[in-house]
Structure formats: C-alpha cells, structure tokens
Symmetry: C2
C-alpha cells in the first residue's frame, strides 16, 4: 500500500476473449450477420490485493487489435495511485500523441473505456459497494468534478450539471429503497434476431410476455416484406398496446429509412433504433421529422459525448441509448446522462453482447437515483446470452433487473471462462 | 501473374516508423505540444514484382496499435487480385465484425486507408502513371463506380456525382497541360508553430513571401495575448491583403471560439481552422455564424464522408480540408471531393506530417482536372518536414506544387529511412 492510504496499481493483464456465438445465429441483425461476441478484457491488480476488471466489447475479428490498444495504456496505469481516477482519465484521453488516433473515438477510445471502467470496478470493490450505489452516494460536487465538460459548454455547463444533481438529492434514499425492492424495468431483444424463423419469433414473444417483460424489440432492415410479416406476427402475439421497438442497426440511408418506417407504421413501433449511420446527426433529425410521431432511438455506436450533444440539440432522438463500454468509460457516461436530463430525453441503455447488461445496469440505476429521478419511460435492454461467464451476473426477475448488491461494476468474468475462450489458444477455439 | 492478366498480392509487410520531431518543437500546436511524426507503414508485393506503399500518419505513441491494425487486414489482401480494388475496399469497410470497431472511424478506418492507398499506389505504378493522372483519365462512370454512396444519398446521389464529373470533362486536356506547366498553389505552415519565438516567426514569414507562397498559416489557441501579438507581427511582415489563416487545432468550445476569433478579427484571418472538436457539426455551424464573415475550415481530423456531408449541409465550413490518410483512403476522398463540388465549397487539403503532402497533392490535382475544374481559392498545405525520406518527394517551386510525374501515389519511403526510424529498434531510436 502507498503512503496516506493510497494504493498503487502494480499489475495489468489483457486477454483476447471470444465466444463462438456465430455458430448459433444468436445476435444476427441486418448489419451483423455472424457475430462472435468478444471481449478485449483487462484485469488491474493493486499492491493491497484488490482487482479491477473491465473490457471493450467487439464482435470477433479485430478483438486482437482492441486488446493491443488496451495494452498500449499500460504505462499510464502501472505504478499509479488507483484513487487518482480523474487525473488518470484525463491523462489517457488527452495524451497528445494517442489523441491523434481518435480523437475520442474508435479503438483507442474503447480501450480507454475498458481501463477506466476497470478502475471504477476496483474502486467500488475496495469500497465494498456496487458502482451504482457508490456513485449515488457521492456528493453532487464530486460527480461534477469527474466530468470532462470540454466541447459541451454550449449545451451543458458544470453549473447546470450541478443544478440537476442537486435537484435530485431530494428523495434519493426513498429511490434507493425502491430500487432494492423492485429493481429496474427491462426489455428483451431475444425474440427478434433476424436469423430466427417466424415460429421461434412467436414462441419467444409469448415467453417474453410470460416472463413479465414490459417491452420487446425486433431487428429489421434486411427485407421489408419479411419485416412487415415479423412485426405483424409479434403484434398479434403481444397485443395492440404492448411496446414493440424495432432496430435497423444502421442499415438505411435517410430516404430509405423514412420510406421503410412509414411502411411499418401500421404496427405502431415503440421506437426505431439506429435507422442510419450513428455519425449522422442531421440524418437522424431528418428521419425523426419524416416518420413523426414514431420516436427515434440511437446510441450504442455513438462514439462520444459530442455526437450525443448534437443529437439532443437537433431534436433528433426521443430515446438516448448509452453503451457502457464504447465512450470513454463511466465518467463520459455521466456527462451523457446529464446531457439527456438537461434535454429531458429518457435514457434506455443498450446492452447484450458480452457483459454489457452487467455494466450498464449500474449507470441506469444511478440515473434513476441521482439524475433523472424517474424510471418512467425507461427500460434497460436485456439479452439472455453469456451471463454464466460472469462472477456477478445480472439477475432478472419478472422482467426487471434486480439492483446488484456485490461490490464492483459486475465486470469480472470467471477465470475458467476467460481461459477457455481465449483466442485462438483456448479450449473452445482449439477444439473447433 | 494470375489468369487473364490479373496479378495477385503475395506479400504484405508492416513497419512502425517514427521520427523524433519532438526534439526540435517542429509541429507544436495548442493540442499537440510534442509530436513525434510517425507512419504506420505498409508495403504490398505482387506476384509480378510490383510494390504498393501506403501508411497511416500518427504523432507517436499508439503507432504500434495503428501498425497492428494494418496487420489485421492481411487476410483480406493476401492472395487477392490487386485489380479488384472496389471489392477489396468494400470487404474491408463492411466486414461485419471489424466494422464494430468503428464503424468507419479511428484506428481501424485509418488502417483500411493505409491498405487502400497502397493498392492505389500499386495500381498506378503498374500503369506507369502518377495517381492524379490515372484518375483524371478514367471515364466518369468508372470514378462513380469506385465510390461508396451509403449514407450520402440525401446529399449526393451517383447520378449527381456523374453529372459533376461529366461537366468537368470539357477542358480536361487543357487543365492537365496547365497543371504540368504551372503546378498547384501551396501555402506554408512553417512560420506558425507555437513553439517558435517571435523573431523566428517574422523571419519565416519573410522567407515564405520570398519563396512565392500565396498564403501562410499560424497556430493559435494557447494564449490569446500571444496570438494577438503573433498575428499582428505576421500581418506587419506580410502586409494587409496577404492571406494569413489561423489554426486552433480543436482547442476551443463554441463560446470560447467565438470570443477568441472576434478578438483576432482586426488582423483579418483568411480562415479559422479546427476551432473546436472535429465531431461537432452544429458547433462549427454556430461558430461560423458567430464569427461571420471570417470563414471556417476543417477536415484533417474529420473521420469520414458522413461528417463532411453534414458540415456541408449545415453550412458550417467555407473551406473543406481533406486528409489523404484518415478517411477510408482514396475512394472515400473521391466521395468527399464530389460532395464539396456539389455544395460549391473549395477543397484546401491538409498536409504536413509524414508524407501527407506527397499523397494529397494527387487528390487536389485530380480535383482541379476532373471535378471542380478550378484552382481559384484553393491551396494545398505545405510543411517542409521529412520529405527527404520519400523516393518521390514533393517538389515546390515558387510557392507551388509541381505535378508529380513518377508512377504511383508518391507514397514510398527509402528502405534506409524505414530501417533507421523503425521504433524502437532502428538506429535513430536505439541511439537516443
């Protein structure tokens, strides 16, 4: 242990972990027909015996590059005081040389996300609290100090952020108690993958209703006639008022999106997700206008807070979908939650993949307790994949996420899972 | 050689090449105080004995990650018909698994850029022509077929692109002759680096005038009083009507940019470059309105054609600055040149770094011959760094780029330069 109660990071391991999900067509959509869900996984160790786990999620090829990018951050982390979170974050994001590889986007930014989230996992484990609670108990001033407001001040200032957080102070204890008692609403994408035949879709819709989910989502965008048939089938099973969102995974140009969604309007989609490129703020705004009143949602591939800011400024989205492992980790997601609150747009996190449900539940729960103060109109995505590989997997009861109680960010995988799925040498790949 | 005159790529080497430019404060600006100009460098070899060279430019740390990302593209390239350029481009950009690492941005997109540009270098070498001429002699239909119009159709359709190119057919031969005789206008950033003292700034301004440059550029954004003093000094040396651009390298938020540029207005900046984040389309539009009539320029860090499209749609920029090695290589830059032409915005390429002048001159010259048809209001950036390491370095005469005559994309470095600057084992680094 270092001086003055500080503790130092003395070890960092990276692992290229891949799951052969393409063998089952799980996770297939219009842009991603054959994903092998993967994690570029990092473990930090301190001189007082704690660990922090984090990862970037990818869908297979390139996970080696992503793992190498995390490895390139080793010099920023080893030997550092692990409580010095704010400084570490800024040093990585603003390293003048590394910054050229983004800035703040793509492989290098996702690498920073993995390390930063691992630092938060570490901090919460050492504090003996789940991340959502650790954050929820922080004073508003400390939360604001964690956030990088660069490029945000035309939409959100530190003073405005503080005001939002202070307003939410009232009722915090009651909301923490409610969260522990009732959990947070989930929706499921499990019925809707493109690779599934219609009878499987119908069966999975019924199962989703039986399991108490309050919303489902269908992948669309490969073939319009198929989408009409599948959405109609889901609507028949779920009834006229049940929220059924659709997700095009960036498949369309602006004009195509408007025409396609217009054709699906009779089946009342709850939202249209990723209608076009995640980079196209003005495109999303044009689609929103063109398909009104169908709401637009996006975010899982939005690279950073600057694009989210613009999506909100342009009135382009009605639901904001944070992803826990793409932007620069937890602190950048705090900025995004506060931007959403400032614009009055509900946050409905993206999840699924490997461990994204585990991570992102903490952010949504913090949002409920300490930012937006409400769960109305909010749901966390849930996909029933790969949770068995995590030491503190999400728990879904009656269509809701239980509030995690274990210390940390729920980010740690079982060592045996990591070993078996390491690419290409692990047992799962060696034997394939 | 393959069947039917095709030729196959049988070799691919990558090199992590770094120049210790930070030792001299060359290239210092408000966001990049100590760059070590670097290239993640790739060499392709064919079964008929030709080579293609390409690279991603970085500024030091992380060049290993960038080199690894290029290496990850090996399976897409080895054994392939090197004339199958369009298919190769699409396979890399739309590989459903790799795409998750962007999409179309950051390290993975720059890696694709390096390989795609190397394929074009190869094609031009084999054709015995410089890239600018090879492209300029292609029929408009072939150019259009090279372009990926996905996410562009709300601003530029294939039909509109064809129309622009067909209109420029007239007078092509005359423009090729003029280019060969007179070259293309350049501007120089050499006087304006932040690390230089004022007397050096003044001396370099005078030298720029003496050398025949028609424009210079100063870095700004670290300290307002310094910037006022430096811009005043440059204005005194260059006279009231000489174009002096300023470049903030993304330093400001929207409000700061407007205030800062307003303070510099008395010195009549020719353009303000990168006033804020390259991701902030709406921010650039707000700044353009706030500092009018001072023109806004950006592009060297713009990640892809989709952001450029929006900058044009929003009327956010008066000059569009392509970079040859950041977006997905030559074909994506063709899309961007055509977008600029459609919106009537002049293209003034970013250059400098390692080999960016060498590459981008070909694109600007193609723009003159076959797209915009004019050099009016257009200049290519020129920085007098590191050209000696290239086998076909740019030639500047009387402030203008000579049209390259050697076959290829001017992308090849001397083998000895690559060896000496390989990081960390090369002589330059080993001895440091």
């Amino acid at each position: 242990m270092g001086a003055g109660g500080s503790y130092r990071i003395v070890g960092m391991e990276t692992h290229d972990v891949r799951f052969p999900t393409s063998r089952e067509l799980d996770g297939s959509d219009a842009m991603n027909p054959d994903p092998d869900y993967s994690a570029a996984y990092v473990v930090l160790r301190t001189d007082d015996g704690f660990e922090g786990h984090g990862f970037a999620f990818t869908i297979g090829r390139g996970n080696d590059v992503q793992t190498a990018a995390i490895g390139a951050l080793r010099p920023y982390v080893i030997g550092r005081d692990a409580e010095d979170l704010g400084a570490l974050y800024r040093e990585m994001v603003y390293d003048s040389q590394l910054r050229w590889l983004g800035p703040e986007k793509g492989v290098m930014h996702m690498a920073i996300s993995a390390v930063v989230n691992a630092l938060w996992d570490l901090k919460a484990r050492r504090a003996g609290k789940p991340v959502w609670l650790l954050l929820s108990e922080m004073p508003p001033e400390e939360i604001v100090a964690l956030i990088d407001f660069r490029y945000l001040s035309d939409a959100l200032t530190p003073g405005q952020a503080l005001e939002i957080l202070k307003k939410a102070e009232k009722g915090k204890a009651r909301r923490i108690a409610r969260l522990r008692a009732d959990g947070y609403p989930a929706y499921t994408t499990s019925p809707g993958w493109l690779g599934y035949p219609d009878d499987k879709l119908r069966r999975l819709c019924r199962e989703a209703l039986d399991q108490g989910f309050g919303q489902i989502k269908l992948k669309v965008g490969a073939d319009l006639a198929d989408d009409v048939r599948r959405l109609k089938a889901a609507r028949e099973v779920c009834g006229p008022d049940f929220p059924i969102a659709i997700d095009a995974n960036q498949r369309w140009d602006v004009g195509t999106a408007i025409a396609w969604v217009t054709a699906l309007k009779p089946y009342a989609p709850h939202w249209v997700e990723e209608p076009t490129s995640p980079d196209d703020v003005l495109g999303h705004a044009a689609i929103a206008e063109g398909v009104s009143p169908v709401p637009i949602a996006t975010g899982e591939h939005v690279q950073n807070r600057i694009i989210f800011k613009q999506l909100l400024q342009a009135g382009a989205i009605s639901y904001l979908q944070i992803d826990a492992a793409r932007v620069g980790g937890l602190p950048e997601n705090l900025a995004i939650l506060l931007l959403a609150a400032r614009f009055g747009v509900p946050v409905c996190p993206h999840a699924g993949g490997v461990g994204l449900c585990e991570l992102v539940q903490h952010l949504a729960m913090f949002d409920y307790v300490a930012v937006s103060g409400t769960m109305d109109g909010r749901v966390i995505e849930y996909v029933d994949h790969l949770h068995e590989h995590f030491t503190d997997p999400v728990v879904i009861e009656n269509g809701r996420y239980r509030a995690p109680a274990a210390p940390g960010f729920s980010a740690a995988m079982h060592a045996e899972s990591v070993a078996a799925h390491t690419y290409p040498g692990g047992a799962v790949w060696r034997d394939a």
